[in-house]
Symmetry: C2
Subunit: 321 residues, 2 copies
DNA sequence: CTGAAAGCGCTTACAG
DNA sequence: CTGAAAGCGCTTACAG
């Protein structure tokens, strides 16, 4: 049914060794005529090498696993991985996605089972994941390893950036709004910490901490728990900000005069709230590009054609603060 | 570094054949004592069988590939695949995700390369995908194959459900709002068709068709292009509905009196718009559950403990129509 | 320039 | 109750 290298060899009248060499780019030393017969036969038979056979022979597969954190999987993440899939494909690598779970056991199964060439993630690996990957001898790449900087939590910077914006706008009493479900809020701690630091820096009182789900009742209760007017709310993401904005509007608070909000993510929907949301954008595409570049480099591929892109967080000042 | 079955065999003082049998559940006929030595040795060595070796020997891997369509990847999809990952893991199957691309070439690489036990998708496979999978001899499962019904496009039903709701509410002039980017709108055609049918049924004029991105200017232009007051807008999804609702509010139209909207997806954010969005919910979790059940059944696993769940589209009447 | 041979880690009849 | 042997599809020195 499915052609093997044996079939190709027979059809081309050569040995399997020859087929393997030629199809894997080590064919320079073969007669042009032979090369052509082989590639011809391969395409006629729609030959696709077996990943299993190849993996076994080489000790590692051509698979790269991207670990997807348990967090909002936005539409643009999809875009990003699609691009990554294509970029890796041109180097003969196959990208497959794996959903992160609480325990690292499934990751272990995947890693030792599939022997991927590398494991990548757009968000920093946890200590446990890093240890696992290391002990299994698998190359791991995350944003931290991609940016040659020291390992620091970028979430602290994000929280600080949001808070500083509010302070600059004159809000003197800050609030940090977490997303209720802790699993969905892997970055909340760092963000909150960033807000705290800014408060300290500016001699402001400690931020008030609230938590809510994306739900009207939650949002109303949260708004009612804040001392208004006068507060500036740093939100975990644009969804949280939208829910709170809506609740504040229902309660009749003037935005941004009596209460301010700043979101995070720069989602498409953040542009169509009333008023449109002030938020922070993060160039995921650039981050992904750099991650892939780092991974390719680490895998010994040439990356001369890939200039590193500048990744930064960009304030998007709009109507809510 | 990484233990092989050879290592386990040596440590347990048995042959590799024995290790294989015992670790794969065919150990009934072995001495209890032997079984224990083997499992003991395996766990001490943190043995994980090599997927490559096993795949080569068995002719098929323990991998199940889920094809993710190029469309909004909502947070709940994440939830669903996480659950599916776990359900499959208990049967020794590993779920990996593959992003659909325009061409089926990458899918082909994955399928013939990895020899997955099955390929599943929460949205119907395209003709091309189906053909490929069939020719490669891979089991394929999608919602259509899971629900024993004839292959019909559920999107037509969804569009019709939305339209009928608006008609029941008294809107006599319907509009269908597509999401601009065609790649993001794989279901638009079917939905539009559903709306058309309802108009015909009720002797109403043909629906007006508009297209917009999730963008304030697009939305304003779209609203301005509709004959108001009096129209009911069937929206591709909740995001489109939110953008239009916002534009209508800016223009001063009364919702739902002068213009009505119904979205689709029942996203968390749809509950916090002003007024909250009328929408249609789809029990993805149930659909996924049935899909997995069908896949397990097709793979010869026992599914006696898995009662099929009822999947339907549920209207969520709220404030916009 | 090309092929024979060994080996990657596993599973599966089969023999005992 | 257990093991020797063959084979899955490939790649990689090595020999010629």
């Amino acid at each position: 049914m499915i052609a093997t290298s044996e079939d190709v060899a027979r059809r081309a009248g050569v040995s399997r060794a020859t087929v393997s060499q030629i199809l894997n780019g080590r064919g320079q030393r073969f007669a042009v005529e032979t090369r052509e017969r082989v590639t011809q036969a391969a395409s006629e038979l729609e030959y696709q090498p077996s990943a299993a056979g190849r993996t076994l022979a080489k000790g590692s597969s051509d698979i790269v696993i991207a670990v997807i954190p348990y967090t909002t999987f936005g539409g643009n993440l999809q875009d990003i991985f699609q691009t990554a899939t294509e970029e890796l494909a041109t180097r003969g690598l196959t990208l497959l996605l794996h959903l992160a779970t609480d325990s690292t056991a499934p990751l272990d199964r995947v890693v030792t089972g599939m022997k991927p060439r590398a494991v990548i993630s757009l968000t920093p690996f946890s200590r446990a994941e890093l240890d696992l990957l290391k002990s299994r001898g698998v190359l791991a790449f995350d944003p931290q390893s991609a940016s040659s900087k020291v390992r620091t939590d970028p979430n602290v910077d994000i929280g600080a950036l949001q808070a500083r914006y509010l302070v600059d706008r004159g809000y003197e009493s800050l609030v940090f709004a977490h997303l209720q479900d802790a699993r969905l809020d892997p970055f909340g701690e760092g963000r909150e910490e960033g807000v705290r630091r800014v408060c300290t820096e500016h001699g402001l009182p400690e931020p008030m901490i609230i938590r809510l789900g994306i739900d009207p009742d939650d949002a109303l209760a949260a708004i009612d728990s804040i001392k208004l007017p006068g507060a500036g709310v740093v939100c975990y993401n644009d969804d949280v900000a939208t829910a709170l904005l809506s609740a504040a509007t229902i309660r009749g608070w003037k935005v941004p005069d009596e209460v301010g909000f700043i979101g995070m993510d720069h989602t498409p929907l953040s542009a169509v709230t009333l008023p449109p949301l002030s938020t922070v954008g993060y160039d995921q595409r650039a981050a992904a590009y750099n991650l892939i570049t780092a991974a390719l480099h680490g895998l010994g591929e040439s990356v001369d054609d890939r200039e590193p892109m500048d990744v930064k967080f960009a304030l998007v000042p709009r109507g809510t603060a």
